[in-house]
Amino acid sequence: MRRLNAFFATITVPPILWQVIFFLVPLIFLVVMTFWSVQNYRLKPDFTFTNWQKVLAAGYFYDIYLRTFLYAAAATVITSIVAFPVSLFLGLNAGPRFRIVAIFLLICPFFTSYLVRTYSWQVIISDNGIINTMLGAVGIGQVAMLNTFVGTMIGYATFFLPLVILLQFASIAAIDRDLIQAAHNLRCGRLRTIFAVVVPSAKVGLTVGAAFAFILAFGDFVAPSLLGGGRSPTLSILIIDTVKSASDWPRASVVAMAMIVTMMGVIFAALTFAYRKPGETH
């Protein structure tokens, strides 16, 4: 019994300690800092609600919040839909060798910095870029992509599409093939099999993939800034702006809190949905 307790302590204490040191303590500090003030560009311990009042009273904060939420939601839907057929093929149809090569290729992009990959996209989608040059060569006019919503979405996909595919794939590959076989035997068409068997069976992976996409998009600064041109600011850009002007870390912390609460809410909802048993209402 004592040996068992030591074993559990060994495997549970490190992650708990990690979470406390690197998540809980900074989070508490972030909350505390929202009540501090800035004097002569330096943080000053204080207890004031001014930062909350100022941020929550600014009309643009709600516009930016809503935009960030919708951008992240759009990126989640788009990447999940784009990733699904790939994951389906890799999980159910691809041979073992092809699967290994494909997984390797999906991991490859993470070898290079996301920032570098984003700059590469600038070369590809700019007005003078590769795509527009090709379009021009075949007589199609210039299509604005860089510094637009499309540019931002391309950036998000660059960031996490491979990750979403890998998460979906892991879940789909683990589906019991007998269920799919049974669906076919019961004369279920391909499409119906996907929606009646594959999607419910891989629900956890699909939901976790979508949740990751949302969280990464919601907090990303690079895509909306470098490929969206910062034309439609998101909350991460607002944080940078707030700090950049007068080192207003407390006010930036309020914005960060709004982001953290939103992301926690989304994760909670996603996990609840993912692990809800069929037939459960809550």
Binding site: D241, S245, A246
Partner: protein, 387 residues
């Protein structure tokens, strides 16, 4: 305390009490007489051998091309930590214990913030070669507070409009009016910072100086800014500002100057910078000694080196970005050693040069807003971006 004022001719003089005059006169006179051939030209000393000088700076200033001669002269090592924005500098300095950095290179408006935050040491003007500086820069206002010196000007440049020469002519960019032209709809880029973006427009509105304006003038400035939303290509950070020109996203960017244009020119890009008729801003990089510096004497020597003719030529021609310099002796040395750079940077006294432009009276220092808070200006910028 010895106080220095600028007299009508723009030359420094000391303002000392009768009681301590005799004691100070010798030192002050020697100091005032100090030219850039002063301390830096003296023989090397072993006093600092093996020490490290920690410098907090914009990128590129730790290049061996710049610091090599200093390291060799004193047998020291210059260690550099780079930052890429005044906000980052303030964040670093406010979160680092005093004593980590010896020298801070900062923009003049950040120097003012560092003084307010008590992060830099007062300096003795007698230690630096102000006598060799152009009179206009011998007592640079942003470096002084309550008659006390806190920084020495290292280099400077002007900000107006940077433009694509294949798309716009020199005639078209003579006024900020071009920003509203239908020709550049969707092609006006912005450096994503309220100060360099709003102040050129403040000049366009006729506010001189552009930073010290009434609330009514500020309301008008807001309208002027907001009217440019349909023209806007995007808001760029430092690095993507270059690519925005290179990839054709931006044809004209206000609040940008030669430092960007020269780098792009080097890459063969058709980009030039101009100060429009309504005026331009001056960016100024300055050197200070950090509060609690471990090596204040070595820091002083470094500033002396960087502001000597030799150091000035090097800092002006840094490969990271070039700039004009305030030391006349530096101009002379550059004309002799790097004449092509003297031409490019317009640092020749016998030709129309950057100081002539300054003397026209339409160059204003880039300063923090006076009558409104930074917050008010920045919120306007955020509103504009969010429109």
């Amino acid at each position: 305390m010895t106080k220095f004022r600028i007299n009508q001719k723009g030359l420094l003089r000391s303002d000392v009490s009768r009681r301590n005059f005799m004691g100070l006169a010798g030192g002050a006179a020697a100091g005032l007489a100090m030219s850039s051939r002063g301390v830096w030209a003296q023989e090397a000393t072993d006093e600092f051998k093996g020490k490290e000088l920690n410098v907090l700076t914009w990128p590129g200033h730790g290049d061996p091309y710049m610091v090599g001669a200093f390291e060799e002269r004193y047998g020291v090592r210059v260690r550099v930590k780079e930052y890429v924005g005044g906000d980052q500098l303030l964040a670093v300095i406010n979160s680092t214990p005093q004593g980590v950095y010896d020298v801070i290179l900062a923009d003049a408006e950040v120097v003012e913030q560092l003084v307010d935050a008590d992060q830099i040491e007062p300096l003795n003007p007698a230690d630096y070669p102000f006598a060799d500086f152009f009179p206009e820069f011998q007592k640079f206002e942003q470096h002084w507070k309550d008659d006390q010196l806190y920084a020495v000007m290292l280099r400077f440049g002007y900000l107006g409009l940077a433009y694509n020469t294949e798309k716009l002519s020199a005639e078209e960019v003579k006024s900020y009016k071009i920003l509203w032209d239908s020709k550049v709809t969707g092609k006006v880029g912005w450096f994503d910072w309220y100060l360099t973006s709003l102040q050129p427009l403040s000049l366009y509105n006729g506010n001189k100086p552009p930073y010290d304006i009434s609330n009514e003038a500020f309301d008008k400035l807001r309208e002027t800014l907001f009217s440019l939303k349909p023209q806007t290509a995007g808001y760029f950070q430092m690095a993507d500002l270059f690519s925005s020109f290179a990839n054709g996203q931006a044809w004209v960017v206000p609040g940008i100057g030669d430092w960007v244009a020269l780098l792009l020119e080097d890459q063969g890009r058709p980009v030039k910078a101009v100060v429009p008729d309504e005026g331009g801003l001056q960016w100024t990089e300055s050197l200070s000694i950090a509060k609690g510096a471990k090596n204040p004497e070595l820091a002083k020597r470094y500033i002396q080196y960087a502001t000597s003719p030799e150091g000035q030529v090097k800092t002006a021609t840094l490969s990271s970005y070039a700039a004009a310099i305030p030391n006349k002796e530096g101009w002379k040395l550059m004309a002799k050693e790097k004449p092509e750079w003297a031409d490019r940077l317009r640092l020749r006294e016998d030709q129309e040069n950057v100081m002539d432009q300054y003397r026209k009276g339409n160059i204003f220092p880039r300063k923090l807003p006076v009558q409104q808070s930074i917050e008010v200006w920045n919120e306007t910028w955020t509103e504009f971006k969010n429109m």
